[in-house]
Subunit: 222 residues, 2 copies
DNA sequence: TACGCCGTCGTACCCCGGTACTACACGGCC
DNA sequence: GGCCGTGTAGTACCGGGGTACGACGGCGTA
């Protein structure tokens, strides 16, 4: 019997997880936490096999909670589950000692498989993340810069791969000179790209481009 | 017996809703849609009493789907349910003919109560939204500009109300001159505010400020 | 082959954004 | 009364961002 602790600030999300897990006869939910501090406390008390850990929670977030739980030497495995698919928090989470990383829009079976995998000591990464993870290890560029957006938003349809890449790093808050340096380009090239991005997307300046990047989920909130 | 259609692109979210609703003996789920187009089709086929409609879905979004369903003259009531608490989509949704608006982090009981309310012809607005709604009607400024962020992010802690307001409209992509015009300020005043915002938040320029605004959910993706 | 798209780079120009001050009215509080 | 935070406003300056060009090599394809 695999014991699971759910750490998520959204009641409905917890409810969904609990219902799903309790429907399996090899799993049981031993507790629910609504923030990082509570998660740490409940892990200490119940010693669950697995924690389903949300990243974004009020107060202590999931990453820091993961770090502290791992630091206690508990043999609890932590499976990070978040709404968003990319962002460097994924890597932070893994670095913090998490055994895996899944996205919330995964199929229930995928989630269950992930839990069983980490409970048995394996690591698991959402298929949608694997490519980014590899990319990040291959190039030492910003992780998200090498990855393509998944849900193809019409407003980004005419952008080339390179332009998406540039738009992504604009969305990280980089200046033109920074983009040029870190992408090994001339600043004039960066400007050319940005000019094309603005005209193609019908945006006025980089600020509106950043907003579009967020709206289309080319970049996602931390 | 209240018949309900679930329209949400996230499988786990649908699963949670379905489990919750099926646990009630006066409700039944007659279908699940993963986007707006599908929702319209299933409403036409099943004529549910209530649609639980997510806003953000691939393809046709929940707002437009609501608009079209209402336009068909169907007596189906639509209850919009979204992850984010603010954004003007709330108002768009209500204008599109939705009977109510709830946030996903509501308690399950609140959700059930909301469904029963709209099924019986009442309108319902999440308590967390009521204040904004009022604010928006009182002043005729952009809705989000008059509202305060809920989950108090430490990075915004030192900002004054006015500064948050300015940061919000920066997050809308407005230029300094536009902000000055629409908020009836001198551009120099706008610059003063922005300067203070940047120094308080430790951000370098308005682009990074926008990113922070998204990360802290002061503004939310469309 | 020739065309077009893409990615690269350059120059020149202008304006917006951000900085660095100063300043003052108002309200709350010691 | 005097102080402080807040919101307002001004001037002066400079650098980065965006625009408008032109140019060229590589690559796929009609």
């Amino acid at each position: 019997m695999t014991t699971v602790l759910i750490a998520d600030d959204q009641p409905m999300q917890r409810f969904g997880f609990r219902m799903l897990l309790e429907s399996q006869d090899d799993m049981t939910v031993v507790g629910e936490a609504t923030n990082g501090t509570e998660a740490i406390r409940l892990v200490d008390r119940h010693r669950p096999d697995v924690v389903l850990m949300d990243i974004r929670m009020p107060g202590l977030d999931g990453i820091e909670a993961t770090r502290r739980i791992i630091a206690t030497g508990a043999r609890t495995r932590i499976l990070i589950v978040t709404t968003f698919d990319l962002d460097e928090y994924a890597y932070d989470g893994l670095r913090a000692g998490a055994s895996g990383f899944l996205v919330k829009d995964a199929q229930p079976e995928e989630l269950l498989a992930g839990i069983r995998a980490v409970a048995s000591g394996d690591a698991v990464v959402a298929p949608s993340l694997t490519r980014r993870l590899l990319d990040a290890y291959v190039h030492h560029l910003p992780p998200s810069a090498t990855a393509a957006p998944r849900p193809e938003d019409p407003r980004l349809a005419t952008l080339t791969e390179r332009e998406r890449e540039i738009l992504t790093v604009i969305g990280q808050g980089w200046t033109n000179t920074e983009i040029a340096e870190r992408l090994h380009l001339a600043e004039s090239t960066v400007k050319t790209h940005i000019g094309r991005i603005l005209s193609k997307t019908g945006t006025r300046d980089r600020v509106q481009a950043v907003i579009l990047a967020y709206d289309t989920q080319l970049v996602t909130p931390a």
